[in-house]
Amino acid sequence: MSLSAVQGGAWSRPAALAVLVLGIEYSRVLAGRLPGMATASLLVGGLALCLLALGRRPADLGLGRDRLAFRVLGGFALAAILLLPAAVRWGGGPSLPPELAVAAVAVSVGEEIAFRGALFGALAEAGGPALAVLGSTLVWTAAHALSHPPAFLPAVAAAGLLLGTWRWACRDLVGPVVGHVIADLSL
């Protein structure tokens, strides 16, 4: 087998995952614009994103029970950072109805498992941790291009970079999941 074939094989998995993640995210956003489909699209989209981790060991995704207190605590710290810029300028906002809150949890967990779990792992295997952090951030930002106006994308990218850096620095996905869920439920 030639070197290029080996390299091609190494890249095929993250490339396929990136396309799948983008496809799911775009489909979810477009479906959510149909009348009465907001909650269902979030629930189904979150579930579909979780399915991208099938076949991977929890440890490869950054999941595990070791250092659990630290991981959960890290999630609260990430949530505080994610929410801080909004909290300082907060003027109140509508509370999420229960069905949307459940859907928000589903899509938060799904996005973390897909971006910082499966895609991060595949990119790390193919090109190392720097590529994993930057690549997962790039795809995460592109995935939000349909749901957020261009002015919001730098903030979205910075959030992806923060969560990806935590994933790399602490070899942990529990923190990003907890932080993302709290952030989405609070805003």
Binding site: F76, A80, A86, G93, A103, S147, H148, A158, L162
Partner: protein, 234 residues
Amino acid sequence: MTRALLLLAVAAGLYVAAAWSVAPGFYDGFGPQAPYRWVSPPPQFKNSNQPPQPGHGTAAVASTGVVNPGSVFTQDGQASASWAPGAFQAPADHSPVVIDIKPVATYPDPDGVHLATNVYCFTSSSPIAPGKDVLITLTFSDQLPAPSNVHEYQDSGPWRNIGNTGAAAPFSISARATSLGCFAGGYPAAAKQSASGVRVGGGQTLPIVIAVAILVVVLAGIPLAILRRRSSDG
């Protein structure tokens, strides 16, 4: 470890700077709302405002003689009516019931109420059946105080508060109406002065969540750090 912590701190700083440069709200999964289309835009939206659009739809009569369930939306999605089977009286000739939604510029003075949405007039070619109702849903701007209830008037008024059924989606308010008329979301005008920029009736949980998160990190972090130091000393 130090390098990792440093990179984490840089990433956190970058995020805070980037998030500070845009309007508050992470809204992941939902996305910031499209700009609200005003009939009479507030001054800050006058330059960018697009006119609101009407809606039109029909509800067929089933072979059983009952009007089918359905929904009608304005083309911009800012107002809608949804109904269950039999909500409208079936025309004698079993022709479809026609429902129209139009944003209007003139309406009776909503005494004591600040309207937070356009006023939409709903009409149907057949009245709502006795004992039935239609769900009226109105979206509102994410840039201004949110309405606390739906208000309605028939013919030339007066306005009356018909409450709300809670939100089925972010930045929307719904109420059940037993007859069609003109509807708008609003909140008590007295609340405006005391709550500039505040979404009246909305949640105030974010600062509490932040405070709890920081408290948890501090309270749990100290014993964790002590335990880690003891285990490394031992």
